[in-house]
């Protein structure tokens, strides 16, 4: 009987570990294109993100239509002509990170994130530097990297080629409330 209770303890601790992933629905991802002719910026504040600290895994998912632009026409063209949001409504990332993060210790921990970015129906493996910061009861994951629209088969017509940068600067900022 004792053995059984030990086992039950073990089982419940396993289940607890499984329940560890931190989840948020208000993550932030933006991209920025700078050319001499036009600055284009869009923000998505409804990014779903999960981090599993025990397995060092990380994943994001967002709706392309969640990207908001300053100019309504740009937003429409983004969805209609470039990323084809009707056909490819979601973009996601799933991967793992390397580096040491101690959530019981405040501080900023540099990490390397590697995984598959799915955008416009095309999946590519990317590897980018990032950081995780533990501050009070928050875990803040940040990253800046560049992506090339042509890698994801996003076609930019010749007429607007000088208005859209070849590399877009992507900023990721995800804030988790650490549930203990």
């Amino acid at each position: 009987m004792q053995r059984l209770s030990i086992l039950l303890l073990f089982v419940s601790s396993q289940l607890l570990l499984n329940a560890q992933p931190q989840i948020t629905r208000t993550g932030f991802i933006s991209f920025f294109s700078k050319t001499p002719y036009e600055d284009i910026k869009a923000e998505n504040k409804q990014v779903n993100a999960v981090v599993d600290l025990s397995k060092k895994k990380i994943a994001f998912m967002l709706l392309m239509r969640g990207f908001l632009f300053k100019k309504a026409l740009m937003q429409e063209h983004f969805n209609e002509n470039y990323v084809e949001s009707d056909k490819y409504p979601k973009s996601s990332f799933s991967g793992s990170y390397t580096g040491y993060v101690d959530i019981s210790q405040e501080g900023k921990y540099p990490i390397i994130v590697k995984g598959v970015l799915m955008l416009h129906g095309i999946s590519r493996t990317i590897e980018v530097p990032a950081s995780m910061e533990v501050k009070e009861d928050k875990l803040i994951a940040k990253s800046n990297f560049k992506i090339n629209p042509s890698d994801y088969n996003i076609k930019i017509p010749a007429v607007v080629k000088n208005k859209i940068a070849q590399h877009l600067d992507v900023t990721v900022m995800i804030e988790y409330k650490i549930s203990k």
Partner: protein, 292 residues
């Protein structure tokens, strides 16, 4: 007994573990993200008009649209008039978005020298997994200042025409959008007692995208007979191609209507496709963002 329980627990545990490994973290989010998909359908049409008929679209808040509508003469004028290219009618218009749902506009047509003022209000917007159609209300007041010598020049109120249109559109998929347009035109003064002061028409139209930036458009505004009696008029049939480049939309069109504002193409279309009274023309729109 205990052994059996232990094995059972191990089995359950290992099963739940394999399940946890198979399901990626992504699957945790699919449900919550799918809950967000009841979104407004945008981009039903590229332009604010199919050809002549207004679409459910309007300029966004603080966006100013400048539009040039141009119609050459009739194709059946023949080679002497270079198939109509010698003649031209034009309408300029400015449309401005007060909010994302309400726009106002002013225009001026060369045909009968008509000034017009209009509004477009997006009343209902189509939603994914929700409302099936977008509905906009369009109203226009048109005033002709054409001078003539055979009659005394009339007071402004007798030269004024009011038009109300209900624009009901559905974007069926990313390529196909259709619109139904019941219209009501009110004339303060009609040429003869047999002509009706209130004229009704029903329009159908739509667009089919060929590529992301090019679509073919067509519209037909059916004018039931017995309303405009004193002149020979036809229902308006127009078709064209939309080409979108950044902030511009170019529309190349063929139509039997010479007039380019609502009361004119709805009730004063004198051309007949059968006889070759076909006007070639174009609409060009340019959006200026006044928002900082």
């Amino acid at each position: 007994m205990i052994k059996k329980v232990i094995t059972a627990l191990f089995v359950i545990l290992s099963l739940s573990n394999t399940k946890a490994q198979d399901s990626t973290l992504l699957e945790l989010m699919v449900d919550t993200i799918n809950a967000h998909t009841s979104q407004v359908v945008s981009g039903t049409f590229k332009a604010t008009q199919i050809v002549n008929t207004p679409t459910v679209e309007s300029p966004a808040k603080k966006a100013l649209q400048f539009m040039i509508m141009h119609r050459f003469g009739r194709l059946n004028e023949g080679a002497y008039a270079l198939f109509g290219l010698d003649n031209a009618g034009i309408r300029f218009a400015f449309d401005y978005g007060i909010t994302d749902k309400l726009a106002i506009g002013v225009g001026r047509s060369s045909f009968e020298k008509v000034y017009d003022a209009s509004f477009k209000w997006k009343v209902v917007r189509q939603k994914q997994n929700g409302v099936p159609v977008s509905v906009s209300a369009y109203g226009m007041i048109a005033n002709s200042v054409q001078k003539y010598s055979d009659k005394p020049y009339l007071n402004a109120k007798y030269r004024t025409i009011y038009t109300s249109q209900l624009l009901i559109a559905r974007k069926f998929n990313s390529k196909l959008s259709l619109q139904l347009t019941p219209s009501w035109v009110h004339f303060n003064l009609v040429p003869t007692p047999a002509d009706k002061n209130d004229v009704f028409a029903l329009g159908v139209g739509g667009r089919m995208k060929l590529t992301n930036r090019i679509s073919i458009n067509a519209e037909y505004n059916y004018l039931p007979s017995g309303q405009v009696v004193s002149s020979d008029v036809f229902s308006s049939l127009s078709m064209g191609v939309d080409i979108e480049t950044g902030g511009h939309v170019f529309q190349l069109i063929f139509t039997n209507s010479e007039g380019m504002n609502s009361p004119y193409y709805l009730t004063k279309t004198r051309g007949s496709w059968e006889k070759g009274d076909i006007y070639f023309g174009f609409n060009v729109t340019r959006i200026f963002n006044l928002k900082k």
